[in-house]
């Protein structure tokens, strides 16, 4: 075991892993975090904590991830390249790892221009960083963990390793589609051990991409978890189909919401999610699912039940031993 996280053990044990997302609050209280966390407890194996998603200021991913550790849950801290240079990023990793955060998803991050949307003013005039890109983040974290070196070359202090399972995101159906498998290969070559994809609705197209992934043997080198964004309405699906890069929604899925509003649309959304998860499970190379119920965490229990993902497997509580062994 590289870091002994629950996620790592489940992947190693060949389990079909389930993760979900928890969006930190736009305020300085842990109440919302604690409340959302309870919807996820026992229903998923690990919880992604988003890092100022869509460039909107929220409580930092590291601090929320630490809170989840305190609550006895397993976080996957997300880290974007947008807001921090390599100094800040590595420092954040040290802090989070010291507090028991054992997984990190390295992503480039939405451009800050996204922060102005709907009613939000955001910070479109902020300066972005992108000192490194997601692939370089992956590489840097692997070097810190495995070679105990910082990106610049200095060693980490003796006996104080930065133990984290390293993940990356993948947009399988983003343009240019033929190059997406190459980009996944780069992320895995850089050291990504698990992959969470952008939301997939078009399972046929995803299946074709996965065939190429399997042909290259990439599925054996990293655990690929298909991302599913839980749909709430036809409007949301149409919006994503039109406006979100790399997300295409087949007509027949949108049509299922015809004439459905409120609770009926919500029920349809959960049914669609469960079906998509079941279809994804059948695809060779898919090792898990990442459920994105955006500001809808309370529906996770219902979704995982409908998708037949319960009960979640247990891991023996020998994390401490593993840590001791590796130290």
């Amino acid at each position: 075991m590289k870091c002994g996280s629950r996620l790592e053990r489940l992947i190693a044990g060949g389990e079909f892993v389930v993760t979900a997302e928890l969006g930190p609050p736009m305020g300085a209280s842990l109440e919302a975090v604690d409340r959302k966390a309870e919807f996820l407890r026992g229903n998923v194996d690990a919880i992604n904590v988003t890092d100022n998603q869509t460039a909107v200021v929220r409580m930092s991913s590291a601090s929320v991830a630490i809170r989840l550790v305190q609550l006895g849950l397993e976080p996957i801290m997300q880290m974007t390249a947008r807001d921090r240079n390599r100094i800040a990023i590595q420092s954040e990793w040290l802090g989070a790892a010291a507090w028991g955060v054992q997984n990190c998803l390295c992503i480039t991050g939405d451009h800050q221009s996204f922060s102005r949307a709907g009613k939000l003013l955001g910070h479109p005039g902020s300066k972005n960083v992108y000192d490194m890109d997601s692939i370089q983040l992956v590489r840097t974290l692997r070097i810190m963990r495995d070679e105990h070196r910082f990106q610049g070359g200095d060693p980490l202090e003796e006996g104080m390793p930065c133990r984290m399972l390293v993940g990356a995101a993948w947009t399988p159906l983003g343009d240019p589609i033929p190059f997406r498998v190459t980009r996944l290969a780069k992320k895995i070559a850089a050291g990504a051990e698990f992959i969470q994809t952008q939301g997939v609705y078009d399972m046929d197209a995803f299946r074709q991409q996965m065939k190429k992934v399997v042909d290259r043997g990439l599925h054996e080198r990293a655990a690929i978890m298909v991302g599913i964004i839980v749909p709430k309405s036809a409007g949301m699906l149409k919006y994503m189909n039109k406006a979100v890069a790399g997300v295409s929604v087949p007509e027949e899925i949108i049509n299922r919401f015809d004439g459905k509003k409120g609770s009926k649309a919500h029920a349809e959304g959960i049914a669609v999610t469960a079906e998509l998860i079941q279809q994804a499970r059948e695809i060779e190379g898919v090792r898990g699912v990442h459920i994105m119920a955006i500001e809808w965490e309370e529906k996770i229990p219902e979704i995982v039940t409908a998708a037949g993902l319960l009960p979640r497997p247990q891991v023996e509580d020998d994390v401490a031993e593993t840590v001791a062994e590796n130290a």
């Binding site: 221009s113 992108y130 983003g174 343009d175 850089a190």
Partner: protein, 224 residues
């Protein structure tokens, strides 16, 4: 070339308000080519200022002159307008010209003001349309990316692009912006070099860019 755009007239009028005798100084370099601050634009701005002075009842005298370049000492030294007769220079050069004039102007009483917003290093797409091509990062990677720059032309300066925001060849930030990484992939494929993009580019050394502080180059063989 350096691409610039003229500041809003209101801003310029406020800028020159404290001065009575202003020289609008045009530049015959890049800003002439991008129609932002050459002889024609300097003349137009001077006329506008004179008209505005009349409609606003300002005591403002505006002259104009254009020199070959505002970034070389020999041309700055050759300004023909008597400096004693002006209080401020409103330069229609890029920021380089404004800085250089400030440092080189012999009459230290004279304030140099910027008439333009200096925007980027770009090229003319068609008459009246310019776009950014280079960021002047000091460490060129164009040989690795099929001649198209990910530093100057990717919104996220990605070394290992494209990110997930590439859509039909356009960037996620807006549909007017091309995704340069999509173009790089296409170009490398055209060149039969696509497999080179499998290589992972290491984190860049940004010290050659502005992040390393103000830059300077010296060619000893050219110096006396």
């Amino acid at each position: 070339m350096i691409i610039a755009q003229r500041k809003k007239f209101e801003e310029l009028l406020e800028m020159v308000r404290p001065y009575r005798r202003v020289l609008v100084l045009g530049c015959g370099g890049c800003v002439t080519v991008c129609n932002a601050g050459g002889e024609k634009e300097a003349g137009l701005l001077a006329t506008e200022l004179r008209l505005a002075a009349r409609t606003h009842g300002l005591d403002l005298e505006v002259k104009t002159e254009t020199i070959t370049r505002q970034c070389d000492p020999e041309f700055v030294e050759a300004i023909t307008t008597p400096l004693a007769e002006i209080d401020a220079i409103l330069s229609t050069a890029c920021g380089v010209g404004v800085n250089f004039l400030t440092e080189r102007i012999t009459d230290r009483r004279i304030t140099v003001l910027p008439a333009l917003n200096t925007s980027f290093y770009g090229a003319t797409e068609s008459h009246g349309e310019w776009s950014e091509k280079c960021a002047g990062c000091g460490n060129c990677v164009l040989h690795l990316t099929g001649g198209l720059c990910p530093v100057g032309r990717c919104a996220k300066t990605l070394s290992n692009g494209p990110c997930g925001g590439s859509n039909n060849g356009k960037c996620e930030i807006n549909t007017d912006a091309d995704c340069i990484w999509a173009a790089i992939v296409e170009r490398m494929e055209e060149l039969g070099r696509l497999e080179e993009l499998e290589r992972i580019e290491e984190p860049r050394d940004w010290s050659t860019a502005r992040h390393g502080g103000p830059r300077k180059t010296v060619r000893e063989d050219l110096k006396i």
